[in-house]
């Protein structure tokens, strides 16, 4: 049994199919990169896993529990954390406050009115801040962070949740070479203890970090395997790597 299993997933917007009979299995403690040309359905797949959209048909199993169609916050509480394609942080809160919100051990609004600090928060904060390299920016408003720092902050927020599965949508988009290098180091550290699914277009980055690469095309699975196999696959080269990577 897999850690995350997607079975015959379908999603149509009106009559346009976006995800078409898509099935994969994610093994625990691996880093799987989800690649594919624009419109292949990568982000939609993430939306379907995290409950942002409900599938038309099909099933999503997480740790052998059916999570298909549950509400976003319920799925998040089960242990699936998500980083968005466009970095989504709370711009008018400080970096520290952002991470504090993300440390969502207590979620009941009425109980939280009387809660001013969380046990274990400071410890977790120190660990995540060290991992994401944000220690010098803790008291700065998130809105004035650079693009790379915003990406790291959002990765840090996902880590604060202590998720069993991390879904990261384009974590290095818009980063400089140096920033990408730092992110690679963060991810290599992360995959020792976490299961990750990363959507990314940057093939150099994928080559660095991926255990398994899953290629999507037109909402279906095109190929899956180690990067060397994928890059040798004729059909993949045809639809995706094409001119850019050949």
């Amino acid at each position: 049994m897999g850690f995350l299993e997607i079975k015959q997933l379908c999603k149509s917007f009106d009559t346009t199919p976006v995800i078409n009979d898509f099935s994969i299995e994610i093994v625990e403690l691996t880093l799987c990169c989800l690649v594919g040309p624009n419109g292949a359905g990568k982000t939609t797949t993430m939306d379907l896993i995290t409950g942002r959209q409900k599938p038309t048909s099909g099933q999503i199993l997480f740790c052998e529990d059916d999570i298909t169609g549950l509400d976003e916050h319920v799925i998040a509480r089960r242990g699936i954390g998500r980083k968005f394609q466009v970095p989504a942080v709370f711009r008018d809160l400080t970096v520290r406050q952002n991470l504090e919100v993300a440390y969502s051990r207590s979620t009941n609004p009425l109980k939280n009115i009387f809660r001013f600090s969380d046990p274990g928060f400071v410890q977790k904060l120190e660990q995540v801040v060290a991992q994401a390299g944000l220690s010098e920016r803790l008291n700065v408003e998130a809105g004035i962070l650079s693009h790379g720092e915003t990406q790291w902050l959002e990765i840090g927020m996902v880590l604060m949740q202590d998720p069993r599965l991390l879904l990261l949508d384009e974590p290095v988009a818009g980063m400089t070479e140096a920033e990408i290098e730092k992110t690679v180091a963060i991810f290599k550290e992360l995959k020792k203890t976490n299961t990750l699914v990363v959507v990314e277009h940057d093939m150099a980055f994928v080559r660095e970090i991926a255990d398994v690469v899953t290629v999507m095309h037109m909402g279906s699975l095109l190929a899956q395997g180690p990067i060397s196999e994928i890059e040798a696959n004729a059909r993949v080269r045809e639809v995706y790597l094409g001119e850019a990577e050949a």
Binding site: R52, H73, G81, F84, L93, V101, I113, E136, R137, Q161
Partner: protein, 367 residues
């Protein structure tokens, strides 16, 4: 470091503010003036509730007159029944509207304690149900504001229409002051003033603690990006409903105080203009600052009392013009202006928990 953001300085400002307000009765002999100041306390409560809901929660609420009006009607019914007795069991206006018995929903208001509890619980429950329905369906932003406005008009029309039960446009004017047992609270006495002020102080301190709690933090995160908060495991609708309901409860308290002070309630309390002016108070004073919103209410209502007579019908135009200026040039209101001014005189940065001098290189919010 801007002293405006210093928590100790903020608490100190709150303390000074309420002490100054508390000594007002020592210097005001005119009991009518004192009563008027006490009603400003009611406006302060309303502005505070808007600041919590709109400023911190990001939920623009144009229908705060609903819990205010319902609370006011509940209190007016309680006080009206206090002056009815065995020989005269029905309020006079009902007789004039040819009712020969007390309607069932007036019955509980024979008991003062039960009546006041209902005056607070009914509006709060209404907010919880209405808010819950709206927020669960993810109605937010301008759409929610329009829904509150529509709901406000519905209540206004309803109360106006059922004249035999509410005395329609004339409203309810309880003949006597609010009595607890044998003790009557004279609305023109310092006791009434201090009671309202005490409620305002408790609500302000409670509100401030709430905004600093984990709840307050999540609510501010929801204001920034509700969608993101969901993926962190929070039930956003629950948070929105809670902050909206708490604001509604404070408005209901304000409604009760209003009637205790003025011995009068009419559909005018549910008028859209009044609910809109609450938003204007908070906007001008500074919706992100509880105390700023309260001061905004004092300033605008004070100006209306004293300048309103001079400008007569053009007062609303003056107010509207002022509001436009504030929205355009001071989006954080007068409190934001103070923040900017204080930011020009930064405090020396003390060693903080991170012991990190590198922080000085980066602009702090408000600097």
């Amino acid at each position: 470091m801007n002293i405006y953001h210093n928590a100790t300085a903020q608490w100190l400002a709150y303390g000074v503010f309420f002490v100054l307000l508390a000594v007002v009765p020592m210097f005001v002999d005119d009991s009518f003036l004192l009563n008027q100041f006490a009603t400003y306390g009611v406006f302060g409560l309303l502005a505070l509730s808007i600041s919590l809901c709109w400023g911190f929660g990001g939920i623009l609420n144009l229908g705060q007159g609903i819990p205010f009006g319902l609370g006011a009607y509940g209190m007016a019914m309680t006080m009206q029944m206090q002056s009815q007795d065995a020989s005269n069991p029905i309020p006079p206006f009902m007789l004039n509207n040819s009712l020969d018995h007390l309607p069932w929903f007036w019955e509980p208001f024979r008991h003062t304690a039960l009546g006041i509890i209902l005056a607070l619980v009914v509006p709060t429950l209404f907010c919880a149900i209405f808010g819950g329905l709206m927020f669960r369906a993810r109605v937010s932003g301008p759409f929610f504001a329009i829904m509150t406005l529509a709901m406000l008009s519905a209540w206004y029309t309803l109360i106006l229409d059922v004249q035999p039960y509410t005395n329609g446009a004339n409203g309810i004017t309880p003949p006597g002051a609010l009595k607890f047992g044998d003790y009557a609270i004279d609305p023109y006495s310092p006791v009434a003033y201090w009671s309202v002020l005490a409620l305002l102080a408790v609500a302000t301190v409670g509100g401030r603690l709430m905004t600093r709690s984990r709840f307050g933090l999540v609510v501010q995160a929801v204001r920034g990006d509700a969608e993101r908060v969901r993926f962190l495991g929070y039930n956003v609708a629950g948070y929105e409903t809670t902050i909206y309901t708490i604001a509604g409860f404070i408005a209901a308290v304000a409604g009760c105080c209003w009637v205790a002070l003025t011995q009068y309630v009419s559909p005018a309390q549910l008028d859209t203009t009044f609910s809109l002016s609450m938003v204007i108070w908070a906007g001008i004073g500074g919706r992100l600052s509880l105390i700023g919103a309260i001061i905004g209410a004092f300033l605008i209502q004070g100006a209306q009392s004293y300048l309103g007579d001079t400008f007569l019908n053009t007062w609303l135009l003056v107010l509207g013009g002022f509001f436009i200026l504030v929205v355009r040039f001071l989006p954080k209101g007068l409190a934001g202006l103070l923040e900017t001014i204080l930011g020009r005189f930064p405090l020396p940065q003390r060693g903080n928990s991170n012991g990190n001098s590198a922080q000085r290189l980066y602009p702090q919010p408000g600097e």
